[in-house]
C-alpha cells in the first residue's frame, strides 16, 4: 500500500467521522483478548455495588476502537507512532442487543518535522465527551 504523502495533509483537515457500537459481547471478547478480567467490565451486580451505573467498557477497548478513524483513513496502523488518551467518563454498556455507540471525529492539528503530524480525536457518547486530550502522531510519506 502506498503511504499517504504529507503534502496531502494540512492543519484543520477533517478525517471522515465514524460511529462505533460497543456491546456486552464485545466487552467479554476484549477481556479475553487483553487479559483484563476486571469484574466491573462484565458483572452488573458488582459494577453497581462499587457505584457504577452498570458494567463499563474497558478504556483500552474504547481507545483501540476510536483510533480506527485514523487507521482506516491512513490505511496502515503501523504508521501510528504515538497515541494517548485520557478517559474522562466511563462508557456504560447496557444489556441490549444494540449495545451503545460512540461517535468519533478527528482532525489534523499540528504538522511536525520528519513528515509527521498530530491528529486530535474527539469521542462522544450520549452527547458527552468520553475521551480528552486524545491524539495520535502519525508518519506520512514525503
Amino acid at each position: 500500500m502506498t503511504l499517504m504523502s504529507v503534502t496531502q495533509v494540512h492543519v484543520g483537515l477533517e478525517l471522515p467521522t465514524q460511529e462505533f457500537t460497543i456491546t456486552r459481547a464485545a466487552l467479554i471478547r476484549y477481556a479475553g483478548a487483553s487479559g483484563d478480567f476486571n469484574i466491573i467490565h462484565w458483572n452488573e451486580r458488582v459494577a453497581q455495588e462499587v457505584g457504577l451505573p452498570t458494567v463499563i467498557a474497558h478504556g483500552m477497548l474504547t481507545m483501540g476502537t476510536v483510533i480506527r478513524v485514523v487507521t482506516d483513513w491512513l490505511g496502515d496502523p503501523g504508521k501510528v507512532i504515538e497515541y494517548s488518551a485520557r478517559f474522562t467518563r466511563p462508557i456504560p454498556v447496557p444489556d441490549t442487543d444494540e449495545g451503545t455507540s460512540i461517535k468519533v471525529s478527528a482532525k489534523v492539528t499540528e504538522l511536525l518535522e520528519n513528515n509527521q503530524a498530530v491528529i486530535s480525536i474527539s469521542a462522544i457518547h450520549n452527547e458527552v465527551t468520553v475521551l480528552a486530550k486524545t491524539a495520535a502522531t502519525v508518519q506520512f510519506a514525503p
Binding site: 487479559g35 469484574i39 494517548s84 488518551a85 478517559f87
Partner: protein
C-alpha cells in the same frame, strides 16, 4: 496488559481491583512490532499520589526486543477510586 497485571495484583500494593479504573494511557512506538518478534516488558511504578480522595498510580512499561532495542514505551494512569463518594 499481562505485564500490567503484575501491578494491579501485587499483594503489597493491595489494590481493590473493582475500584480501579483507567485514567490515561499513552503509547510511544519506537518501531513497529512485527509478527515473530520476541519482546520483554519491564513494568515500573513511576508515581503514586492522592487527589480528590482517589489514588493515582502511574505505571511505565518499557518493551524491548531480545537484542535490547527499545520497541515501545507505554504509560498508564490507574485510578483507584476512593470509597468516600460514589458518583
Amino acid at each position: 496488559m499481562q505485564a500490567g497485571g503484575q501491578v494491579v495484583h501485587d499483594p503489597e500494593l493491595a489494590l481493590d481491583y473493582t475500584r480501579v479504573v483507567h485514567g490515561e494511557q499513552r503509547f510511544v512506538q519506537h518501531r513497529p512490532i512485527f509478527a515473530g518478534d520476541e519482546i520483554t516488558s519491564t513494568v515500573s511504578v513511576d508515581s503514586i499520589r492522592s487527589a480528590a480522595g482517589n489514588d493515582m498510580i502511574t505505571v511505565k512499561t518499557e518493551v524491548h526486543a531480545t537484542d535490547g532495542e527499545l520497541v515501545s514505551t507505554v504509560y498508564s494512569l490507574l485510578v483507584a477510586r476512593g470509597v468516600g463518594e460514589e458518583s
